[in-house]
């Protein structure tokens, strides 16, 4: 492992990381990923450290992933997911997390629907903060786990072409991944309903291509985003049926992609909406591997942040 001096107290977003720092984390995560194939798995690296999962938005997947990652490193974990759900914002929220700080935890993993909330916490809380998704801004560990999955599949994570399809506008996953991919020298095309693809994505280096059929041609990776029913109710597209027919990944679209392509999705999948059910577990699907890589990436992040103390 290289000897980069880690310079960040928190992990708030992919935007804050240099190319070298991303490679450093990926390399470390890759080792953890290999380690996960062995048993027994428990390490003592971070024994005696405390992690608090503070989730204001439900996400069993990400919360459990952090919890297992922490426990595999020997940490103690406390979950605050429902008991604080009544706390919204402002002074109330500030008081609540200040109380946490008096409990002398070491690292706080936070998810909130407000973009920039982890950054706000970092301004006055004394411990490490990991952003586990803030509003529509960033989801750095998701981007890192996607990059790790790609690296392990292709043996590299640069010079690739990736199509991200779906609700780009409201997706922190898309934003972080796009920033990460471009930073490492990949090309990114985005597509989906025009109402859900913001023009401003071009400013981070992505290319907008319509229709979806054209966007997925000549790419190494097709990355589908989860479609929320609320977006239909808010009028961004007319129906889930129409979504699946024009923007969903099905056997018809399969005819257009390269033989060597792979399919990714941050999960959980809406079968029959963004992807035809029978394709979820197809040989070209990395959706399951992404989950395991998520664990490895979170181990690497915790180990790096606390290890830099």
């Amino acid at each position: 492992m290289n000897d980069l001096k880690w310079a960040h107290r928190h992990l708030l977003g992919i935007s804050d990381l240099s190319k070298e720092e991303i490679f450093y984390l990926l390399e470390k995560a890759n080792d953890f990923r290999n380690f996960l194939e062995k048993s027994p798995k428990r390490l003592a690296n971070l024994k005696g450290y405390f992690l608090v999962n503070l989730f204001f938005e439900p996400s069993t997947r990400t919360r459990v992933s952090f919890e297992i990652a922490a426990k595999l490193l020997g940490m103690e974990v406390i979950n605050f997911s429902t008991s604080l759900s009544s706390v919204q914002k402002g002074e109330n929220l500030r008081d609540t997390v200040l109380t946490l700080s008096q409990m002398k935890v070491d690292i706080l993993v936070v998810r909130h629907r407000e973009s920039g909330l982890p950054l706000y916490f970092a301004g006055f809380l004394p411990f490490h903060i990991v952003n586990a998704g803030d509003g529509i801004r960033e989801h750095p560990t998701q981007a890192l786990l996607d990059l790790l999955t790609i690296k392990r599949q292709f043996g590299k994570v640069s010079g690739l072409r990736v199509a991200i399809v779906g609700d780009i506008t409201h997706s922190r996953v898309a934003r972080s991944l796009c920033v990460g991919l471009v930073k490492l020298g990949n090309s990114v095309v985005v597509s989906g309903p025009i109402t859900l693809v913001p023009r401003s994505i071009e400013e981070v280096g992505a290319e907008i291509v319509f229709p979806v059929e054209r966007a997925v041609q000549d790419v190494d990776i097709v990355y589908l985003l989860r479609i929320q029913r609320e977006r239909q109710e808010a009028g961004y597209f007319p129906s889930l049926k129409e979504y699946s027919i024009f923007y969903g990944f099905d056997s018809k679209v399969m005819q257009l992609v390269r033989k060597s392509f792979v399919l990714m999705h941050p999960g959980p999948v809406n079968r029959g909406v963004e992807i035809a059910s029978e394709l979820v577990e197809a040989p070209f699907s990395l959706i399951q591997e992404q989950v395991t890589c998520g664990l490895a990436v979170r181990m690497a992040v915790l180990d790096t942040l606390i290890g830099s103390d």
Binding site: I194, T195, P211, G235, P238, S239
Partner: protein, 432 residues
């Protein structure tokens, strides 16, 4: 194969902008030759001397009422016959039918029924919003897949700006035009006729120009901002023309008018009563002049008709209870001749182009709507000189609600050929 030879006519070459004395030979459903002195002893010959022979007329704003009635679709047949009589080979049907064209299945059904009847080409316009209620976007992609060529909530406006903004942006993916009826109902409200001298005198609630102008202004801006294709239908005010003129080179906009807004003013209400009740309302002389100027200088590039048949005679009805709308499908072309050719606003080629090639361009079918070797054999033959009187009793349409009864007009279509078949000959419909 049966061939049709149209001899000695004057061809209206709308794409080239000229009239030319040529013969035209049709074989199957194609125009196969355009030339001088074509000889073909086996062909069925139409002697078109003294007639104009042009591409089949296109009307991008027509209403059908019932898609199905107890007698089994007579409504469709009647309006399609009216189209043929009017020289139209292609019409766009607005979605406020019963049931409305907001479901892919209904759009498919309409297409199927019209092909079965097999007279004119019918292109459905799908609803922008479900049930034309202005609340939720309809399945624009699926409707297009089912055959919708444009989208409209005609009869109403999409009052929710955010919804229209999203729908226009969403529809760009499918590259379809929106045909917008512009009327701010919070302004027009219970209005019956134009808010002018006649409304004042008769004590009727008026519809001010601002009801139309304000929404046109809004939607020019939304259309410009989204980069979507926006077509403003039945434009009726002088200020609307100015707004359109200001945006003409900035956005993908187009506009049409109706013949009644060019030939009548609010005063027609005094003479014709409920037959002159229409939306947008008949305006004033200055509006008519501005519309004509907009047509002359190319701000308004399409001539449609907003044919809106209403069954039965409603003359006796209280004004406020009568339906809005004018039945004009079979007289639209002669009406435009009176309004525009006779007034020196357009020549024949200019008129014809705005009723064939231009609407096809708006609909995204620029390869149609003009005469050419190899083109589909949709041809209309017009007698430019003979005057006939409008008689609503002879209308094919189920709608006799027409303020032009008794008018003497010239420029009547005398043959309508659709897909290589003569379906209207010497002003009579041939039974298919």
């Amino acid at each position: 194969m049966k061939r049709i030879l149209i001899k000695r006519g004057t061809l209206v070459l709308v794409d080239k902008g000229v009239l030319a004395d040529r013969d035209l030979l049709i074989e199957g459903n194609r125009i196969v030759r355009i030339d001088r002195g074509i000889q073909d002893p086996q062909a069925y010959v139409i002697d078109a001397s003294g007639f104009l022979v042009g591409p089949g007329l296109v009307n991008m704003h027509v209403h059908f009422r019932e898609l199905e009635n107890s007698a089994g679709g007579d409504g469709l047949l009647a309006e399609m016959r009216a189209a043929l009589k009017g020289g139209f080979t292609t019409i766009v049907v607005m979605p406020n039918t019963n049931p409305p064209l907001d479901e892919p299945l209904v759009v498919r059904y309409l297409g199927y029924r019209c092909r079965e009847i097999g007279l004119v080409n019918v292109y459905p316009a799908g609803a922008i919003t479900r049930g034309l209620e202005g609340q939720k976007m309809s399945e624009i992609g699926l409707l297009k897949q089912a055959g919708a060529v444009a989208f409209s909530d005609d009869g109403k406006s999409v009052m929710d700006s955010h919804l229209l903004y999203l729908a226009l942006m969403y529809a760009k993916y499918f590259d379809v035009p929106f045909i917008l009826h512009e009327e701010d109902i919070s302004v027009s409200g219970e209005g019956q006729i134009h808010e002018g001298a006649v409304a004042f005198r008769r004590g009727l609630k008026g519809i001010p120009r601002v009801a139309e102008d304000s929404l046109i202004a809004r939607d020019l801006v939304i259309g410009y901002y989204t980069g979507a294709r926006v077509h403003f239908t039945h434009v009726s005010t002088y200020f609307a023309v100015e707004l359109l003129r200001w945006f003409r080179d900035k956005a993908l906009i187009s506009a049409d008018v109706t013949p009644h807004h060019l030939l009548l003013t609010e005063e027609a209400v005094d003479r014709e009563g409920v037959f002159a009740k229409v939306k947008p309302p008949l305006r004033e002389k200055r509006d008519v002049e501005a519309l004509k100027e907009g047509i002359r200088d190319g701000v308004i590039t399409v001539l449609a008709s907003d044919h809106a048949p209403h069954k039965g005679k409603s003359k006796e009805m209280v004004f406020s209870e009568a339906a809005f709308g004018i039945s004009n499908l079979e007289i639209a072309f002669p009406l435009y001749v009176k309004a525009l050719v006779d007034e020196g606003v357009l020549d024949w080629v200019g008129l014809w182009k705005r009723m064939s090639l231009n609407p096809m361009q708006v609909l995204g079918m620029p390869e149609k709507g003009f005469l050419a070797e190899g083109a589909e054999a949709d041809v209309t033959v017009v007698d430019p000189e003979t005057e006939w009187e409008v008689n609503i009793e002879n209308f094919e349409s189920q709608g006799r609600n027409c303020p032009f009864n008794g008018w003497s007009l010239r420029g009547w279509p005398v043959y309508t050929i659709v897909g290589g078949k003569i379906l209207m000959r010497e002003r009579s419909i041939l039974e298919p």
